[in-house]
C-alpha cells in the first residue's frame, strides 16, 4: 500500500503522531524514524492509529518498541484509535493482549494491557 503518511504535530504538552495508511513492513523504517523524531521532542507522545488502514506484525512490534522507548526516556506514551477492530483482531491473533505489562511498565501504559 502506498501513501502512508506520518504526521507529527506539537500538541502543547504532548507530541501527537498520526499515522495514516498502512503500518506494514514496507513502511516500518519510516514509521520508526517518525516515532523517534516525536520522542526527540522530549514530551509525552500520543500516537493516533484511527486512520491506519492495514497493520502487520512489524507494525505491532513497532508499537511495543515505542512503548519501551517511552519507558527508557521517562516520557508518557498513549495510543488512541487502536480500538479500530483491525488492531484488536491482529493483536489477538498474534497473542499480544495480556493482563500485566512488561517489567519496565511502571505507569501501566502497556499497549497490550486489556482494558478492564
Amino acid at each position: 500500500m502506498d501513501g502512508t503518511t506520518i504526521r507529527i504535530v506539537d500538541g502543547g504538552a504532548a507530541t501527537v503522531v498520526a499515522i495514516e495508511g498502512a503500518m506494514s513492513i514496507e513502511h516500518a523504517g519510516e514509521i520508526r524514524d517518525g516515532l523517534l523524531q516525536a520522542f526527540g521532542a522530549g514530551k509525552r507522545v500520543e500516537l493516533s492509529l484511527a486512520e491506519v488502514t492495514e497493520v502487520d506484525l512489524s507494525g505491532l512490534q513497532l508499537l511495543c518498541s515505542a512503548h519501551r522507548t517511552s519507558l527508557a526516556r521517562h516520557l508518557g506514551f498513549r495510543v488512541t484509535g487502536e480500538e479500530n477492530g483491525r488492531f484488536a483482531a491482529m493483536a489477538r491473533a498474534a497473542g499480544l493482549p495480556r493482563h500485566v505489562g512488561c517489567p519496565g511498565d511502571q505507569f501501566g501504559t502497556c499497549v497490550w494491557k486489556r482494558k478492564q
Binding site: 502487520d56 512490534q61 511495543c64 517489567p103
Partner: protein, 698 residues
Amino acid sequence: MNDEFARTFRDEAREQLAELEDALLAMEEDPDDLGLVGRVFRTMHTIKGSGAMFGYDDVAAFTHEVETVYDLVRNGELPVSKELVNLSLAARDRILEMLDASEQGRAVEPGLNERVLAGFRDMLPESRRQDAAPPLAAGAGQEAGVPATYRIRFRPDAAVFCRGINPLGLLNELQELGPCTVVAQTSAVADLETLDPEACQLFWDVILTTDRGGDAIRDVFIFVEDDCELTVTLIDDGLDDARGDYKRLGEILVERGDLTEEQIVELLDKRKRLGELAVEAGVLHPDRVSSALLEQQHVRQQREERQPKADAASSIRVAADKLDQLVNLVGELVTVQARLSLVAQGLKTHAELASVAEEVERLTGELRDNALEIRMLPIGATFSKFKRLVRDLSSELGKEIELATHGAETELDKTVIEKLNDPLVHIIRNSIDHGVEAPQVRLAAGKPKNGTITLGAVHSGDSVLITIRDDGAGLNREAIRAKAIERKLIPHGAELSDKEIWNLIFAPGFSTAAKVSSVSGRGVGMDVVKQALDALRGTIDVQSTTGQGTCITLKIPLTLAIIESLLVKIGDDRFVLPLSLVEECILLSKEETAASHGRDLLQVRDRLVPYLPLRSIFGTPGEPPAIQQVVICRFQERSIGFLVDRVIGEHQTVIKSLGPMYQQAEGVSGATILGDGCVALILDVDALVRAAERETAR
C-alpha cells in the same frame, strides 16, 4: 461408500449447518465479535473436513472456497458486512441442497453454486484469488486420535518478515488444529533507537490441544523449519483423566527452562505468589509468567471439558421412527397393564396375582415416563430457524424487525415440535407482514424504528405455553368486523367482545389484507393454524391492543401419545376427558335438575356454571340415573360443566386416532382402549362447547 456412514455425515452436517446459521445471524448482529467469526470458521472447517472424509468432495470443495474468505475475516483483513452474511447464508443453503440432493440421488444445479462462489471470490483481494485451491483428498494424513495438548515455542528468524513469511499465518494454521492459546513474547523487542524495524523480535509460546498428533504441528512449520527455532513438547496426552487439575506454575516454568529449581526454591521461601516474586526479583520477564499461567489455564480447561465429553460419548444416535415405535409399544403395554390390573382385581382371592399386577403397574408407569422423556426435545432448535425467517422476510418487506426468544430450553415431545413448525411460521409471517409497521410509520407513531417479535415458551402444568408477541399495530377491530359481516360470519349490528372479534380471524379463508403479497393476504393461514392446533389438542388465544401489538398464545400438551384423563360413563358407553382441564366433579340430583327449569345451569358455590347434558347431545338411549355427576372443566378462562351418568376415575389414556371413517365425528377427538378391551372415546371439549354455542346462537 457405506450408506450408514453417509447418513451419519449428513445428519451431523445438517446440525452443523443449523449451528452455522445461528452463528451467522449472531455475527450479523455483532460484527465485531471475533468469537463469532471463529465459530463460523470452525463450523465451515468441520463441514469441509468431514465432507472430504466421507467422499462428499463437492461439499468439501465448495466449503473450502467459503472458508478462504473467512480466513481473511478472522485475521481482520476483511470486515464482516451485510453482503458477507447474505452470501454466507446463501452458501449454507447451497450446502444443505447438496446434502439433500445426494440423499435423493439427484444432481444439484451447478450454476447456483457457482454464483454463490463467484460472490465469495469477488470479496477476495486480487492477490488471494489463486489461493482458493481444492481441498486435500479425503482424509489425507489425518489420524484421528485422542486430543492431546502440546507446548510449542516458535522463535522465527529475525529476517522472517523480509522473506515474505507471515508468522501470523502459521499461528492461524495452528488454530485450525484445535483449541489454541497464543502468547507473544515481547521481551526481545528493543526500543526504537536500537530496533531494526524489519527484523522480527517477537517469539511465541503456543498451547494447542489437537487430535492430529505432533507431526501435524511440525507440518505447519515445514516451510520455515530452517528459519526458526521450534520446540514441540507434549504436555498432556489427554489419556490421564486427572480432573480439571494441572501442574503448578513453578513446575511449568522449570519444564520450559525459564527458571531453575534452585531459583524456585529461593523464591518460594518468600511466601508470595511465585509469578509476582519472579518478576519482582527480575529473574523472569512477565511475558513468560503470563505464558506459563495461560498454559496452566488452557490445560485445566481442556481437562474440564473432557469430563462432560466423556459423558457425551456415551450417548448414541437413534432413528426417530425407532423411538416412535418404542412409544407405540409402551402405549400397548399400558393398555394391557390396565387389563391385567382389572383381571387381578376380579380375582381378589388370588393375592399373588394382585401383587404381580401391582408391580407391573409400577414398572409400566416408569417405563412410560422414560419412553416419553426420550422423545422430549428443547424447542430452541425450532426457534432459531425463525431467526432466518424473520431476517429474510423483514428485509424483503423493507422492515426492520428483531426476533427475541426466551425459554428455548423448554422441552416438548418431538412429534409436537414437528407439527408446531407450520403454525408458528404462519403466525410469524402474519406478524411481520400485517403486525409490525414499516420503519417510517413506526417513527411517526413514536415507536422505535425497529420492530420486535418475541417468541417465548414456558411450561404450565402438563402443557407448554408458546407466545408470539409483536409490538406492531395490533389487530384492526373494525376491519375484521366489517369483513366478517361481508362474509356473513356474523349478523349486522352484532355486539361482540374483543375476544369474539379476534376469534373471527380463524375462520377459513379470512383475510383483511387489502392486497395479496408474497407473504400473506391470501386468507390461508390462521384457519390452518387453528386446525393444526386442534390436531395437537392445543388451544390458541389472541390478545391485541391497537397501536401496541398482538400477542398470540398457543397452549400445547407436552405429549401426544399418552395423557392423564378422567374416565366417565354415560349409559353403557365410556368417555374420557383430559384431566388437565378438569376442575371438580359435582353431584346433580333429579330435584336439582327439575329446579333449574330446563336451563342447563348449575349453582356452584356463589356462581352459576353452564353445563352440557352429554346424554342428550349424544342421543344415548335409556333413562339417566337418579343422581348424575357434572364434571366441571376450566376451558378458555371460563368454567363449563359436562353432565355424565357417573365418574369412574382417573385413567392413563393411550391416544389412538379414530381412523379416516370417523374423522368428521363432532365432539370426539380420538379413542383409547380400556383395560377390558372396550373402546372409550376422548371428548373434544373445544368442539363440544363450540357446537353448543352455535346451537344457542340459533
